[in-house]
């Protein structure tokens, strides 16, 4: 066991936890002021809900060794998950340190989906959908990619910190949910604008900071690989923020802080699967290109396909995640990480094919199961709030609270 590694992974876990409140403010600033508490609440309750699910059975379903659909029930209630290392996952830190680090990923993944259905989902339906989603979508996909015996892991697909498991998985679920729940009311007459841009910037700052834990501590040791992940993460986020600003400047005449924030987040998404496998120049390419794809998805694809992904969870996380996963297949190099593989530009076109296959399987599985979960919950308790509740706002109608007083 190694004290430095353990300390690093625990701090990394705390940093990833902070990303969820960060995301809450990132999203919360974007909604109208009658709905900000509903977004903060949805993010925050996930920290409570998924933390309990994870230690009771989520971790076992995701990471207990096994070649089946998921990991099975061997580690229920953390039975057998102790303070000694479990060498197949991380040889130098206590097994529970690995477990709690992974818990934070399970929390933030469903939180990302909130952006798609913000401002119109019933809170009870939200809780039900999320419990089913983490159990039947997140846990199996996590097992396939990272779990011992998972078939995508055995296939040789590379996903350093969760491009497939977290971002593509949540992003496609976001698109499906946005499509089936339908648009918000009065969208054409009254285009909803972000009610608090400073919150969006604050949230982006917290996300960028937390992402160092997300990507860097995914090395599971305080070593050179962690440093590589840290450096390329920062570089890709920076390049993507710049790139988005330039695109806006050329296309709309003025760069916006909202654009720089969107770009930075897209860059962080794209570098996530690649962080432990690519070096710094590819990171600049990955970052500057992701803004092109995501800008297109958000400004051209969304209006054309005519869905209401309120806060662009699909346009940023799924599109950025797919680019990141494929870019890993292009730019991965064994010179960066011996345990990884070479990509197309390092003489191995096969990796790109494997990456594409992992992306496709995740897209299809997550889309289908998300659709089924939504329809079942809609049938039993109804998912969407009443029209009047939507007009009044979710803060008052779902939580009997409001964020801002007018007097006092």
């Amino acid at each position: 066991m190694n004290a430095g590694d353990t300390a690093f992974v625990l701090i990394g876990a705390a940093m990833v936890l902070l990303m969820t409140p960060g995301l809450a403010f990132f999203y919360g600033g974007m909604v109208r002021k009658k709905n900000i508490l509903s977004v903060l609440m949805q993010c925050f309750i996930l920290m409570c809900l998924v933390s309990v699910q994870w230690v009771l059975f989520g971790y076992s379903l995701s990471f207990a060794p096994g070649e089946g659909f998921w990991g099975g029930f061997r580690w229920l209630g953390l039975n057998g998950v102790g303070l000694e290392p479990y060498a197949d996952y991380a040889a130098t830190i206590p097994h529970q340190a690995f477990m709690i680090f992974q818990a934070m990923f399970a929390i933030i993944t469903p939180a990302l989906i909130i952006g798609a259905f913000a401002e119109r989902m019933k809170f009870s339906a939200f809780l039900t959908i999320i419990v089913l989603w983490i159990t039947f979508v997140y846990d199996p996909v996590c097992h396939w990619v990272w779990g011992l015996g998972g078939f995508l892991r055995n296939l040789g697909a590379l996903d350093f910190a969760g491009g497939t498991v977290v971002h593509i998985n949540a992003g496609i679920a976001a698109l499906i949910t946005a499509l089936v729940i339908g648009k918000r009311k009065n969208l054409k007459k009254n285009i909803p604008t972000p009610h608090n841009m400073p919150f969006v910037v604050l949230g982006t700052g917290l996300l960028w900071f937390g992402w160092f834990g997300f990507n860097s501590a995914s090395a599971l040791a305080a070593n050179g690989l962690a440093v590589n992940a840290f450096v390329v993460t920062n570089t890709a986020a920076a390049a993507a923020g710049l790139s988005w600003a330039i695109i806006e400047w050329l296309k709309n005449g003025k760069p916006t802080i909202f654009g720089v924030c969107s770009g930075a987040v897209a860059g962080l998404v794209a570098i996530t699967p690649a962080a432990g496998f690519v070096s710094v120049i590819p990171a600049i390419i990955i970052g500057s290109m992701v803004s092109v794809f995501c800008f297109f998805a958000v400004t051209a694809l969304k209006p054309r396909l005519n869905y209401d992904d309120s806060l662009d969870a699909f346009g940023v996380h799924c599109v950025g995640g797919i680019w990141g996963a494929l870019a890993t297949g292009l730019f991965a190099s064994k010179a960066v990480n011996q345990a990884g593989a070479d990509g197309l530009f390092f003489g191995n076109p096969g990796l790109l094919f494997i990456q594409a296959k992992a992306v496709a399987i995740t897209l299809i599985y997550s889309a289908v199961v998300t659709f089924v979960i939504y329809k079942v919950v809609d049938l039993v308790i109804g998912v969407r709030v009443k029209e009047k509740e939507e007009l009044v706002g979710l803060d008052i109608t779902q939580h009997h609270e409001r964020a801002y007083s007018v007097l006092e």
């Binding site: 009254n190 007009l391 009044v392 609270e401 007097l407």
Partner: protein, 113 residues
Amino acid sequence: MKLIIAIIQPEKLEEVKEELYKQEVNLITVSEVLGHGRQKGTTEVYRGAKETGNLLKKVRLEIAVNENFVEPTIKAIIKGAKTGETGDGKIFVLDLKECIRIRTEERGGIAIG
């Protein structure tokens, strides 16, 4: 000339605006206000303590019109804001002594439209 002041539910603003535009009433001033009528209604709970007699958010419209626009304006506000439930709001109609357009210094009916 009349000054029409209407207090309506915030979520009805869009519909009221649309009805007003149909009557070609385009000049309105909107502000957020707090108030309550007979219903004294509130649904807010802070940490388990229910707050009663709380002031509710409303929207206040001010519209200055010439005489021939008074009835269409009132009808448009009612059409947009009425649900039949308590809390729909009120319309006040006041005599308006003078109206001056600052840019041109025009006065009276011509300055309103």
